[in-house]
């Protein structure tokens, strides 16, 4: 199972000071500090990027491709995420950005928001035809999908079975590039301009299909400073490259995907802690009668991704303003389901948190955890390198830590020892 747990988020050991900021902030308790350095437990990590946001020493790094990756291909197509448009001040025409991407060196551009509009239309039909299976949960945010896959098995069947817009965009762009140029697939580079590391992971290791059509992933924050001067040139007479409307571009903001479904029967939550609360309640059936649940790991939606530049809420406002001048939708596919738009295989539950495959042993380990928890001081101080006393108890039960790692307990032990020595003397 675990060869599948590739991650784009990792740690620069030289920069890591071994502080406890990241272990406390990680929503899946996937980080431990051991021997003075943070370590990510790959089975638990969902690539949400919270640790990148919080690390004061910039020791958490997202891996992605440098812009020079375009030199590896004879012909390249840029796939800008809609969140890219929210980064710029006073942008009133998407074509200015798209033309600037071409000036930067891409041979062509294809907006991810165009594919998003198609997914919106397919989702509308799919949900109305499968209304007995509502609520459907969005599959667009890879961190959320991974979280559901490891922690909410009861909700896997509720995942909307469509690929993320970038995957569909990549397929469409590749076909078009091959038709336009006559080149073979391997000479064409389909390059995603991404707001977040989770999308990097999703492209390197796609869920629900075997190989991603995305060849490389470049960060918005790397492209942004290169685009600014080029946009001054393209602003005067931009080439007409935009192929999407308000519904597609709106996907960059929290609530945008839900908006594209043209229903009021939805819930949209953003920020990973809020997402987890919604999933917990949904799992316990604490709310009913919703058709759709949109969940974005980042606050504000994709505009809040850690590879973005602008404040998420400012970017949200900018996207909204930009959308005002766009037609509602520019992609109409009717009732067809496009090739490659649906997930090819079912997303499987990965019981990464399970203590043991043997239930009797799990009972025994849980009893040990409970006993340890009552022994620990309950300060959740993080000095042991685990985020909470309970997490330390679980690590001990899993054989990954020792009781002596609890610093307050150790201190007490040393005091008692020194007392008894001085008493004996």
């Amino acid at each position: 199972m675990s060869s599948e747990f590739y991650h784009s988020v990792h740690i620069d050991v030289d920069l890591c000071m071994g502080c406890i900021n990241c272990i406390k902030r990680c929503p899946t308790q996937a980080i431990r500090v051991q021997h003075g350095k943070a370590k990510i437990i790959k089975e638990f990590c969902i690539d949400c990027g919270e640790c990148i946001r919080i690390c004061p020493h910039h020791a958490k790094i997202a891996s992605y491709d440098p812009i020079d990756v375009i030199k590896n291909y004879e012909y390249t197509v840029a796939l800008p995420a809609p969140s890219l448009y929210g980064q710029f001040n006073n942008l009133d025409d998407v074509n200015i950005v798209l033309s600037a991407l071409k000036l930067l060196g891409f041979n062509d551009v294809y907006e991810v928001s165009a594919a998003a509009e198609m997914i919106s239309e397919m989702s509308r039909h799919y949900i109305s035809e499968h209304h007995d299976k509502t609520p459907f949960i969005s599959t667009a945010c890879p961190s959320v999908v991974r979280l559901i896959r490891v922690r909410f098995p009861n909700l896997i069947d509720h995942l909307l079975p469509f690929t993320a817009p970038v995957d569909l965009a990549a397929q469409i762009a590749r076909k078009k590039a091959m038709a336009d140029t006559g080149l073979s697939s391997d000479k064409i580079g389909i390059i995603f301009i991404s707001p977040c590391p989770a999308k990097v992971t999703a492209c390197k290791e796609p869920l629900g299909c075997d190989i991603s059509n995305v060849d490389a992933v470049v960060a918005i924050k790397d492209v942004y400073p290169l685009l600014l001067p080029l946009m001054k040139t393209t602003a005067h007479d931009p080439e007409e490259c935009a192929v999407s409307g308000r519904i597609g571009v709106g996907w960059g903001n929290s609530g945008g995907e839900a908006g594209g479904l043209l229903t009021d029967s939805y819930l949209a939550a953003d920020g990973i802690e809020n997402v987890i609360r919604v999933l917990e309640d949904l799992e316990d059936r604490k709310f009913h009668n919703l058709d759709f649940i949109e969940l974005d790991a980042c606050s504000g939606g994709c505009v809040g991704g850690v590879l973005c530049v602008e404040n998420p809420y400012v970017a949200q406002a900018k996207l909204k303003k930009l959308c005002k001048y766009l037609p509602i939708s520019r992609n109409h596919i009717g009732k067809t389901i496009l090739d490659g738009a649906m997930l090819e295989r079912k997303i499987e539950f990965e019981p990464v948190y399970r203590l043991s495959k043997n239930f009797a042993e799990s009972i025994s380990l849980m009893a040990k955890i409970d006993e340890l928890c009552s022994k620990f001081p309950g300060l959740d101080c993080g000095s042991c390198g685990a985020p909470t006393c309970k997490a330390l108890a679980e690590d001990i039960a899993r054989g990954l830590a020792r009781e002596g790692d609890c610093v307050p307990l150790l201190k007490e032990y040393i005091y008692n020892l020194s007392d008894s020595i001085s008493h004996n003397n």
Partner: protein
């Protein structure tokens, strides 16, 4: 090797924001113990309903959960007013919850019926003025 684990919870009086703490702790533990997802759902829904009942009707109480290799047993006991007519209370939609509770979205009369529905065995011992003890079992 211990082949049973016993967990104890206190349900606080009149605090809706905290009702559900016991069932979510159990949910977390059962997930880590690798219990099948559909079994976890039954346990959590049954226990959450019980917790809410204790808050609404009985000024809180105690929950003891025992997990063995073949079943999960939940004993919810309170020192509340007792249930006057158990047959009525078991009917879907029958509720004695006051209006202020109903206005919060609780008190739909589904508490005991849901507890029965989601458990494989349920027993209610109640005495007016003394309290109620509900025992629920979910088979593994």
């Amino acid at each position: 090797m211990t082949d049973a684990i016993k967990l104890e919870y206190t349900v606080c009086n009149d605090d809706f924001t905290r009702a559900g703490e016991a069932s979510s702790d159990i949910k977390d533990k059962l997930k880590k113990m690798g219990v099948a997802p559909e079994i976890i759902r039954k346990v959590v829904i049954a226990m959450y309903e019980g917790e809410i009942n204790m808050v609404i009707h009985a000024n809180g109480g105690k929950i003891t959960v025992t997990i063995t290799t073949d079943k999960i047993t939940m004993v919810l006991s309170d020192k509340g007013p007792g249930i006057e007519n158990i047959e009525l209370a078991m009917q879907e939609g029958y509720s004695t919850a006051p209006d202020n509770i109903r206005s919060l979205g609780f008190g739909a009369g589904m508490g005991l019926p849901n507890m029965k529905k989601y458990s494989d065995y349920m027993d209610v011992q109640t005495q007016l003025g003394t309290g109620t003890t509900v025992t629920m079992q979910v088979n593994l």
